[in-house]
Symmetry: C2
Subunit: 301 residues, 2 copies
């Protein structure tokens, strides 16, 4: 068994899975003994990438059975394993806002770039470690996923060169076509129950004391998702969430609408400068939870 587990956030997405695999590989090539694991099974988009590059999904864990761990794509306890407080975090690779406390010095490489895979691409370069084609393919998929094919406002000048280099290593001749297939693979919501839809990649955020849960789905047809509003609302009530914002993002037109259930209507309307009608608010131009949903909401609390 490896000495150190490497994993991303709960409700793993493509960046979290790809970055755990890539970081573990890099760490092992530089003298460490690690295993990439995940806090859940891959979503449909990630499974598409894993299948395409013939990589096995990481083992699923809910707590660490090692004394040391490496966090990728998250740093907040609420998004991490159950026994985070009992293990030593040796390193963090992340691109989110920070809320992290520990008692010993550690390695942190955080950059406000489009994906953790982008950060890791430059870490491989710096360490002069060759990226295997299959891992490069997953890392390219992660950049495509997190930046919506370089269209999200989270995209930085570092993401495109990394994506192009990784696509070349992976033998992806046309990464735009592959990218559209990948993103569409994540938008087939018909096979998912309402509960699966809201659990999707939802994350909890502590906003002025109360737990705010924010989910997001990508689609090519927002109305199709909204036609399931009653079922989604029932699923949220069943889970007893205080506040739930369910963001539905049109990946082709780079727009979103959100369903909101909770008692902070004013905060929602203030944050997004719009009106909630039948629990729905328009979010024109919004595609990034991290950059366009969480910060304006936090300002309200």
């Amino acid at each position: 068994m490896a000495n150190t587990l490497v994993f991303g956030h709960k409700n793993p997405d493509t960046d979290t899975i790809a970055s755990a695999i890539a970081a573990s590989y890099l760490l092992n090539k530089t003298g460490n003994d690690t295993e990439a694991v995940a806090q859940g099974t891959p979503n449909a988009e990630t499974q598409f990438a894993l299948d395409y590059f013939s990589v096995k999904a990481p083992r699923v864990i809910t707590s660490a059975d090692t004394s040391t761990v490496v966090l990728v794509d998250h740093n907040e306890e609420a998004q991490s394993i159950d026994n985070l407080a009992d293990v030593t975090v040796e390193a963090i690779y992340d691109h989110h806002k920070f809320s992290f406390t520990n008692t010993t010095p550690l390695y942190i490489t955080a950059k406000p770039w489009g994906s953790v895979a982008t950060i890791l691409y430059y870490e491989f370069k710096q360490a002069d470690v060759t990226i295997p084609a299959d891992i490069a393919g997953l890392m390219a998929s992660a950049i495509i996923s997190d930046t919506l094919l370089l269209k999200s406002p989270t995209t930085t000048t570092y993401d495109q060169p990394a994506l192009e280099a990784l696509a070349q290593i992976a033998g992806l001749e046309d990464y735009e076509n592959y990218g559209l297939d990948l993103l569409k693979a994540g938008t087939d919501l018909s096979s998912r129950t309402d509960k699966e839809l809201i659990d999707g990649d939802a994350k909890s955020f502590d906003m002025g004391g109360h737990q705010f849960r924010i989910g997001q789905v990508n689609t090519v047809d927002i109305d199709e998702v909204l036609s399931r509003q009653d079922g989604i609302q029932a699923a949220i009530q069943e889970e007893n969430y205080e506040d739930f914002l369910f963001v539905i993002t049109d990946i082709l037109n780079s727009n979103s609408k959100a369903l909101y259930f909770g008692d902070a209507n004013q905060a929602i309307e203030g944050a997004f400068n719009g009106k909630l009608v039948d629990n729905i608010i328009d979010l024109p131009g919004v595609v990034s939870r991290k950059k366009q949903v969480v910060p304006p909401l936090e300002k309200q609390f």
Copy 2:
């Protein structure tokens, strides 16, 4: 005026001053507009290094008049400027334990190495920016200061190569001799009042809810410092600190004794596996507050 202020912790030491100057220089060479400042005037050791390499001490600030800042050699609010909550932290370079929360993604480069100057040496290399001789001299001084000439247990395999390379750039032919002079410059305590002694490089730590203050002085004669025990104790009482641990470190023999004033005698004795006699506890082999004083204390709370 610069867009962004770069500074280290309160009660600046040599690593904090040198790293602010070095990080500001590196950031300016890579397209930013920053100014190195400090939360206090240099101590005697730092002033020795500044004089030796003919560098002016950074401007002293207590709060930022810019909207963006870069933190070096610290990340905790208690050790930072008064209005940290009102400004945006764009980047952190640090080698301490972490307790940092913000609302936007940022750059963090943290490594558990001997000094922040060591981390910055490798950042200069990676960015392919030449280090000027005077800044290299300050960075070498910072490594010497934080690692007690590579003898502290905080020393890593990265510190010696960085120190040797920086000494060469700085034209320091014999860095060991220079290093002893530098460390001794910081041990002349006779000119400092009891209040100056305890304020020295003391830092506050939140331990299980109450504020624990830990100061440290380097000396070549522990007994000489202990002869001032009554005055030191009076100075601590005057400041109304709940808990104050004053660590006196013999830099030639790599040992310490500590004076403790507070109501957690048991925790102190448990942490250091010894007895408090007349408020004094032996700390054999202890030279590093970060590595040998704070972690065992935190385990008690």
